[in-house]
Amino acid sequence: MKCYWSKAALVGSVANLIGSLSLGLVVGTACAQVPATPTGEPIKIGVISALSGPLVGYGQPLLDGVKMAAEQANAEGGVTIKGVRHLVQVVERDNRSDVNNSVAAAMSLVRDNGIKFIVGPATGSEVASVVEITQRAKVIQLSSAAILQSMLTKENVAPSMGNRRHLFMMQTPSPLREILTIKMSMKYLGSPMRQAVIVSNDSNGDYIGKNVEDAIVQSHATLVLPKVQYEPGTTDYSSYLTKIRDAKPDLLNVWWLPTDSINILQQAMQLNVAKSYFTFGAEPADVIQRIPNVDNVLVACGPLCRNSSSTPAIAAFWQRYAKYLGPNTKFAASAGGAAWYYDGTRMLLNAMQIAGTVDNTDDIAAVMAKTPFSGTLGLIKFDDRHRAQSGFDFCLLSKGKATCEFASP
């Protein structure tokens, strides 16, 4: 028995050597072909997401993304680390769209099940109150919640000392995202010089608003009036939009939330607020369904537009995801979000292989922070504040047709 393990250790170190040279994915598949590798404890990845309550639209894709990554890894024979094959097991917890249950779920995963890797939750307060629990336990946590922007700093993610060095933000941070969107609307909408911004009054909107304004100025366009913030879930935007129309913008940037954007867009067009529109988060398919022969609208999705095929990787992603959406397309709202968590999880597993450990989260976090990964969302790399920089889909809607391009900052 003992000698067997030593042998395994030897193979493992070799695998590790290869791993550190080549891309983890390759190793994963390579090891799958090695039949003799012994199987070790499964790698448990905890998921905290909203499977009931108002936030289920964000929670479901999160869970789906992680499951997809895990299933893929297992189909490839599991993740081989130091010559030991580990299957990936997803442990899911519903936070009922509520803070209290998020905290309890974190306790359950971290303390009770000794889980070292957590994906989620996807939204502001829920993440904020979970972070302390995961970080004290040195548990690696991935989320795309915008609130992380304020929680991650150079100092607190510093290797081996930062008290949030195990925390990673999967969404491309402001202002990079905003700068890119402005660049793209310049490219596709005939460089509109007079621009206006409408954005929701929530934790995401707080950053976006300011950064979009800056990005507009940086791109030498003019901001015709200060950003208009609306209460999330407003149904009737006509009074705000009329105010904006008064400033005669060429382009209206409609930002966040996905559920509101499309509504705003439609009302803006009825009021004829601007010549062209940019919106973030709305699904092109839905826009076309709502507004037949829509024109001069650029849509960016967070991060992928439903069933878009801008790149082979993205097409493959949707093909893979179709199986999950099959029964419950009902939950496809902002389904593209699944890509963040799909890539994030695969990135994590990859980092484990490179670090050659399944439990030393310090090493794994360190590797993740500095190892780029080419996934669905292009080449993903973390900045010095553990914020992923990846691209997203842009679709130009003209004459009721969508033509999409995947762009990265």
Partner: protein
Amino acid sequence: METLLQQVVNGLSIASVFGLLAVGITLVFGLTGIVNFAHGEFLVQGGLVATSAIALGLPFPIACLVAFIVEGAIGWCVERAVFRPLAAQPVLGFIASLGLIIAMQHIALKIWGSNQIAIDAPLKQVLAIGDVRISAMRIAVTVITIIVMTVLLVLLSRSRWGRALRAIAIDRETAAAMGVPVQAYVSATFVIGSALAGLGGALLLSLFPMSPFSGGVYTINGFAVAIVGGLGSVSGALIAAVILGMVEAIASGYVSPVWSSAYAFGAMIIVLLLRPSGLKGGGIA
């Protein structure tokens, strides 16, 4: 100038939606004393039912009718099973409605999913007079709202039903003593209130997308309008809807949008202080 005109038009179209929300609440809350916070859920459910009807290939007007009938039926069941037994204690009725909200939201979630659901509006034209623009669909909704309210006003002021309700609202016991079948009238009112919510949902869906969790906002606005107008007073609700609609349009157009939802609450509190029975409180119609 044209901006102001546009804002007035906006205010009126907001008002028509408010009126649609408030009319059911003012009937049910005002005349039966049932504090039904789940009213917005009936509304949303009505909208979702309408989408399914349209998905089955029915034309929009029929879909509205379906929503009207289905929600009326559900309202009947709910009144029978939940609110009638609790008629004596309105507070318990309120708590029960909280239970209803949770159940109805998640039933909708199971059936229709968390996706925003939208239909393409039966009327797509946008009318423009100079720079003042309004979509035909909004005008249609406004007109229907006005028709519904007028019909109710007439019913309340002329019909036996209306007279009975007025009697009940003023003094239940006496009404009962005078041989008014109070229970029957109360249930009838609740059913009509729910049916109107269903219709309202279907109409709103032609203007705005909906999800199973959209109900809360509608309930809140509806209550604000109903209370400012004076519970039980349809005409009051009409006036309040116009006032609050204008306030919201002008204030969020010229002051600060982020506080827009606060205006309704502020108005509600002030009115209740100055005139606890609302603008046209006390009597009915």
